[in-house]
C-alpha cells in the first residue's frame, strides 16, 4: 500500500502528497547518486554517480537512462542556469563548470585569491544569474570521490560568482563543512551540513534582497525550522534530505543563522 511510502511528521505535509502515489524506482546501478538537475525543455534529469565518475541522464518521456558524460571529473552537484545551461561542481577538476549550448565545457571558477578550490560540492544559480556554491574538502580527502590532494584554502566556504565579471567572493566563511545549497522563492539561501557526518549543523542564510533593493541586505531568515535544503516549491516550502527517520529540527540539530552578504 502506497500509504506506507509516507510518514506524516508535520500535518502541513499532508497536502503535499497523494497517498495513492507510490515511490517509484526509475534506475538502479549507481555507486552513489547525487546532484540531480532537471532540464524541462529536454524533459531530462541529469545526475552524478560520483565514485563512478559519470553523469547519467534520465529521459522522462521514454523512461530510459543513459550515460551523459564519462569521465566527468567526479561531479557532484548540478543545476540548470536561467539560460538553460548545465552548471556542475567537479571534485576532480576542483572547479565549477558550465556546459555551453555548443557543448563545450568551460570553467566558471577554480581558484579563489589564487588558491585552488577544495572540491565544489553543490551549486545554485540565483535570480540575478550569480552562481552560488559550497566548497567542502570531501572530494580531495581520498581517491574515492575525486583525487587525493592537499587543500590550499584553509577553510570550507560558500562562494558567490558573478559570471559576468568573473568576480568570486566568499560569502560565508564560518562553516565547518557547507554542503547542499538552495534558494527559496523569497531568495533565502540555505546551506546544509552533510547528513550523518559530525558537526550536524544546519544553517540558513539570506542572500540579500530583491532585485529592486540590492543595496540593502535583508535580515537573516528567522525560520525556526532548519532542514538541509535541496529543492523548493513554488509556494515556498523546501523539500530536503534528512538522515534517520525524522527530519532535523531545532531540537535535534544546532541551528545557526547566517547571512550571506551580497552586493
Amino acid at each position: 500500500m502506497a500509504d506506507a511510502d509516507y510518514e506524516i511528521l508535520d500535518s502541513r505535509f499532508r497536502r503535499c502528497i497523494n497517498t495513492t502515489g507510490k515511490v517509484e524506482k526509475l534506475y538502479e546501478g549507481c555507486r552513489w547518486a547525487e546532484g540531480p538537475a532537471y532540464q524541462p525543455a529536454w524533459r531530462s534529469l541529469v545526475w552524478s554517480d560520483i565514485p563512478n565518475d559519470r553523469i547519467l541522464r534520465y529521459d522522462e518521456a521514454s523512461g530510459t537512462v543513459g550515460v551523459f558524460r564519462y569521465p566527468a571529473g567526479y561531479t557532484n552537484g548540478n543545476t540548470v542556469d536561467r539560460q538553460g545551461r548545465l552548471v556542475t561542481c567537479e571534485h576532480g577538476g576542483r572547479r565549477v563548470s558550465r556546459t555551453e549550448h555548443d557543448g563545450v565545457v568551460v570553467t566558471l571558477a577554480d581558484r579563489h585569491e589564487g588558491k585552488r578550490l577544495n572540491s565544489p560540492n553543490d551549486v545554485v544559480v540565483k535570480s540575478d544569474d550569480t552562481v552560488w556554491f559550497t566548497d567542502p574538502a570531501y572530494g580531495i580527502e581520498s581517491d574515492y570521490e575525486g583525487h587525493l590532494a592537499e587543500p590550499e584554502i584553509g577553510g570550507c566556504h560558500v562562494y558567490r560568482l558573478d559570471p559576468a565579471s568573473g568576480d568570486l567572493r566568499a560569502v560565508a566563511t564560518d562553516f565547518a563543512r557547507p554542503n547542499g545549497i538552495a534558494f527559496s522563492p523569497t531568495r533565502t539561501c540555505s546551506t546544509s551540513p552533510t547528513p550523518g557526518r559530525p558537526t550536524p549543523r544546519t544553517a540558513r542564510a539570506t542572500s540579500a534582497t530583491s532585485p529592486s533593493a540590492k543595496a540593502a541586505p535583508s535580515p537573516a531568515a528567522r525560520s525556526s525550522r532548519s532542514v538541509p535544503p535541496a529543492s523548493s516549491t513554488a509556494s515556498g516550502s523546501t523539500w530536503a534530505v534528512g538522515s534517520g527517520s525524522a527530519p532535523p529540527t531545532a531540537s535535534t540539530a544546532t541551528t545557526r543563522t547566517a547571512r550571506c552578504s551580497a552586493r
Partner: protein, 42 residues
Amino acid sequence: VKVPEVVANVEFGGGPKRNYLYICGTTSLYGVKVMVNGAKRL
C-alpha cells in the same frame, strides 16, 4: 517520503508543472508524483 536507501538530494521535475520529485538514493534514482509544484525559476 520513505525511500529504501540513503538519500543524497532531490529535484522537482515532471514537465512544466514540476510536480514530480526526483530522489537520488545511493544506488538508485527514485521518483514520486506529488501534490505541490516545484519552483521553476528563482
